[in-house]
């Protein structure tokens, strides 16, 4: 049983600190936005989780391709880790966005290209887990997972494009469909600090969780192997 590497332990603690600082910057340090008021503060986290969630998904597709080429299960473990964390981050993004949209756009949800694409991407994540759930054989599960992340990673940007198309032909029915129209604001230097630190914080947290999750996946694989050996 290998114990947790020291670097990872340090990273864990650093993450807690970074998250605390990011929270401080977002809630106290950054000035209140003139038009939107306090609710604008969710934006500092919203962008952070959205950015890492999206990159994580593309990253997972890359790991999937690597698995298909190398046929080594360690790439599958990394791919699952990336998809899992991205799915959670993406969910947080959608929830934070909704909290912001309620007072600003006057609705929890609108069928704007970005929101719709986010919802569909989240559904692709869910489908990914349901697919994996239904397959017993680890190699086959890994192969199907890799193929599906590849298909999903390709279709998500095309979905975004196609909804944009939809919107340019149709007039926006609810007046607040476009975030550029309602809810834009110029950032003061203090806001920029909070914003960029938010991005940085969630990138580090992603890396930390990713590392931990890979470790967990490796340990689970080891347990599986030990059980098999015990049976023989």
């Amino acid at each position: 049983m290998q114990s947790k590497p020291l670097t990872l332990k340090i990273l864990d603690i650093a993450c807690v600190l970074i998250l605390a600082i990011a929270t401080y910057l977002a809630l106290i340090y950054a000035p209140e936005e003139a038009v939107m008021g306090q609710v604008q503060r969710v934006f500092y986290f919203h962008i952070g989780t959205a950015w890492t969630g999206l990159l994580g998904f593309l990253f997972a597709a890359g790991l999937g391709i690597t698995y298909l080429v190398k046929q080594d299960l360690k790439w599958d473990i990394a791919e699952v880790a990336a998809v899992e964390i991205s799915a959670v981050f993406f969910f947080i993004t959608i929830v934070l966005g909704s909290i912001w949209a309620r007072p600003i756009w006057n609705t929890w949800w609108t069928w704007d290209p970005r929101l719709t694409t986010a919802a569909i991407t989240e559904l692709i994540y869910v489908a990914y887990f349901m697919l994996r759930e239904g397959i017993e054989d680890p190699d086959r599960r890994a192969r199907f997972g890799a193929v599906y992340t590849l298909i999903g990673g390709l279709s998500a940007p095309i979905t975004f494009l196609s909804i944009r198309l939809f919107r340019t032909i149709h007039p926006v029915v609810i007046g607040s469909g476009d975030p550029n129209a309602q809810g834009t604001f110029a950032m003061t230097p203090h806001m920029e600090v909070a914003f960029f630190f938010g991005l940085f914080a969630f990138t580090v947290i992603f890396i930390d969780l990713f590392w931990n999750r890979i470790r967990m996946g490796q340990l689970a694989a080891k347990v599986e192997q030990m059980k098999l050996n015990l049976m023989h």
């Binding site: 489908a127 054989d137 298909i151 279709s155 979905t159 196609s162």
Partner: protein, 232 residues
């Protein structure tokens, strides 16, 4: 070498059409799949009539949407059945044992699934015209239906070959397929609407090129990854 390539291309096409021929022969005899897809389509159209109160004015705007939802549902039904037939009596193994390129199996199945879907669509269109008094005889619409069905079936055949190997195979296909087929459905609905409303080609150009792009990308990807889906 050139002669070698020629024979391998000949055997590729021969195997591909052998599969299509086999599927069509079996289907024209039993008509299980057709009747299921067709009856299901007609039921969906009838249900839409009650759900949407399809009066004269709404009909103009929702026809394209209703048609594509119907095609998508019927298509899933057909795809699931067509791949399950291969799995149930071990026939998929029989296909894989043949000394042909695996992608010949994929393209053979794509062609037969496409033929099934197009035949159902060819029956649904006049029935819809008749029931709702909408003229659907429109060459542009036919082109959109062909392009949309190609993209839907190309991805659907790949995902169905994964879904049938999973424990939850009966429910899995729509969950896997719908979120990644969103671009096809959106673009197809947009283009169909445009043609039905008699808009000028400039406005239809964008969704149409999106459809073509989707078809090309996903046929290429499916061609590359199909081996990983059927091999162990």
């Amino acid at each position: 070498m050139a002669a070698d390539q020629q024979t391998s291309r000949a055997s590729f096409l021969k195997a591909m059409f052998a599969i299509t021929w086999k599927d069509l022969t079996a289907e024209f005899r039993s008509r299980e799949l057709f009747s299921a897809m067709l009856v299901f389509s007609l039921l969906v159209i009838l249900i839409f009539n009650f759900a949407l109160e399809l009066d004269i004015t709404t009909r103009q705007t929702v026809t394209a949407g209703v048609l594509w939802v119907t095609f998508a549902f019927a298509g899933t039904l057909g795809l699931n059945r067509s791949m399950a037939v291969e799995k149930d009596r071990g026939c998929l193994d029989g296909l894989l044992l043949a000394p042909v390129d695996r992608s010949a199996i994929y393209f053979g199945k794509v062609v037969s699934n496409l033929v099934f879907m197009l035949i159902v669509e060819a029956i649904v269109l006049p029935v819809y015209s008749f029931l709702y008094d909408v003229n659907l005889f429109n060459l542009g619409l036919f082109l959109v239906i062909l392009l949309g069905s190609i993209g839907y079936i190309a991805v659907g055949t790949l995902l169905a070959s994964m879904a049938i190997q999973a424990r939850t195979r009966d429910v899995l296909l729509p969950i896997l397929l719908f979120p990644v087929a969103v671009p096809v459905l959106i673009a197809a609905v947009k283009a169909s609407e445009g043609f039905l409303a008699g808009n000028d080609f400039g406005t239809i150009y964008a969704p149409l090129s999106l459809l073509i792009g989707y078809d090309v990308i996903f046929i290429a990807v499916a061609y590359m990854v199909f081996d990983y889906v059927v091999e162990e």
